[in-house]
């Protein structure tokens, strides 16, 4: 009976959360530097075990004429180690071109490919940016998924990222 009970509980915990939305705003800062390249950016959700629970977005030089854009994906070091090196790029719904300085928004609903299998629990939204001949920066925002109520969270980068905000609602 006890086995049945705990089994039931695990099943409940693992149930994917469908009806919820996540909107992520990422500011690519305008930098006054001698040589500027738009940053590579990776966005993912990480569980307490430091494993990637959901890959949300990867911006890289996807249309590089020499097909060399993927050579620098490794510079997104944390993402590369935790997820990138196991993935094939380009990947539909995940990879896209780098973004110019300014604000950019990516939206997901609970039924999207990235989130539909995500178990309920505590996560960190991780945004990593790496710029050719520039620096690298990683921002982390803890969040609960699915959200019990509408929540706005944010973090501020210091050099490679501007403000990063995430709005989740049930």
């Amino acid at each position: 009976m006890r086995i049945l009970f705990s089994f039931g509980l695990t099943g409940l915990m693992a149930a994917p959360a469908l009806a919820a939305d996540m909107e992520i705003s990422i500011e690519v800062p305008k930098l006054d530097v001698a040589e500027y390249h738009k940053p590579y950016v990776a966005v993912w959700l990480e569980g307490p075990d430091k494993k990637v629970a959901a890959n949300l977005a990867v911006w890289y030089d996807i249309a590089n004429p020499k097909k060399e854009g993927d050579k620098w994906l490794k510079d997104l070091r944390q993402w590369w180690r935790r997820a990138g090196r196991e993935l094939k790029v380009p990947a539909d719904g995940l990879t896209s071109a780098t973004r110019a300085p300014g604000g950019h928004t990516v939206k997901f609903d609970g039924t999207s490919a990235a989130l539909k299998d995500l178990s309920a629990g505590q996560y960190e939204l991780v945004v990593e940016a790496a710029r050719e001949v520039g620096g690298r920066e990683v921002l982390r925002i803890p969040l609960q998924w699915p959200p019990k109520e509408g929540t706005a969270l944010s973090a501020k980068g210091e050099h490679e990222l501007g403000s990063v905000a995430v709005n989740v609602k049930p």
């Binding site: 993927d70 050579k71 620098w72 490794k74 070091r77 590369w80």
Partner: protein
């Protein structure tokens, strides 16, 4: 009489001490250890011996014993190899994803002998010892010196086929993957001698970039009863790990002692 005995004792002692400690550090230095992409991937690797890591300012290493193992276990031919005054250099094409093992495997003999009343030293390959040491030599003591220098490079996801132990001499069996090393995190390795755990062996660990700091800042760890050692990388960088043992398990006829050395260059990335 006393002094004769003392001389004899000194001679006997010097006979079992290795001819020379390695005065310089020998190393391989890869241009990258972690690579992404698939198109036309390669690394360039320098091979040199020097006091300061990783600066090529003393002498190049010969590449005749270079062995590069691909992720599928096959051997890869190095390209564009050349040897200059201070370093050798070569390219390794990475045609398939996975982990590559790059090794220089040296197997030499050292000998001390007397000829015409003079103490002589010889160093070379086993096939040359007979013709290069005169027949009139006496008190010949031959020591075998095997040394494996390695580094590892991974294109895409790391794998383990190329990491399988060779089973000869001193070598490292990774527990933590050698291309998955991050600052402030602990890595674990096993040291093997002839394929078996090597307990109680000291490993020297030095981070590169010595020229621009005042202290060597090296660390020493010792393998446990299972040949295992662990180390937490204090900061990112290119590290050099070295160990050597001496025993009487020489595999060359006529050699009584064996010195087996291992050194590896490992890159530790920032978190």
């Amino acid at each position: 009489m006393k002094s004769i005995i003392r001389t004899a004792v000194v001679l006997a002692l010097s006979a079992v001490v290795p001819v020379a400690a390695h005065a310089h550090k020998a190393w391989l230095l890869p241009s990258s250890t972690v690579l992404s992409g698939t198109d036309d991937l390669a690394v360039t690797i320098d091979a040199a011996a020097s006091n300061d890591l990783f600066y090529f300012d003393h002498r190049p290493l010969q590449l005749d014993s270079l062995v590069v193992t691909a992720p599928d276990g096959s051997k890869v031919a190095a390209e564009n190899a050349s040897t200059g005054k201070y370093r050798s250099t070569f390219d390794v094409p990475l045609k398939a994803p996975g982990t590559y093992r790059v090794a220089l495997v040296m197997d030499n003999l050292f000998a001390t002998y007397k000829d015409g009343g003079k103490e002589k030293r010889w160093r070379g390959k086993k096939e040359n010892i007979a013709k290069e040491i005169p027949a009139s030599a006496t008190d010949l003591v031959v020591t075998q010196s095997t040394r494996r220098l390695e580094t590892f490079v991974t294109a895409g996801a790391p794998d383990e086929a190329a990491l399988k132990p060779i089973g000869a001499g001193l070598e490292l069996e990774p527990v933590t993957h050698p291309n998955d090393l991050v600052e402030k995190s602990e890595a674990e390795f096993k040291l093997l001698l002839d394929g078996k755990p090597a307990p109680g062996v000291k490993i020297e660990i030095v981070r590169g970039g010595i020229r621009y700091r005042n202290q060597l800042g090296d660390a020493t760890v010792t393998t446990d009863a299972n040949g295992v050692f662990k180390y937490t990388w204090p900061e990112p960088g290119m590290y050099w790990l070295e160990a050597s043992v001496e025993d009487d398990k020489a595999t060359v006829e006529g050699a009584k002692q064996r010195r087996a050395g291992y050194a590896v260059t490992l890159e530790v990335l920032p978190e």
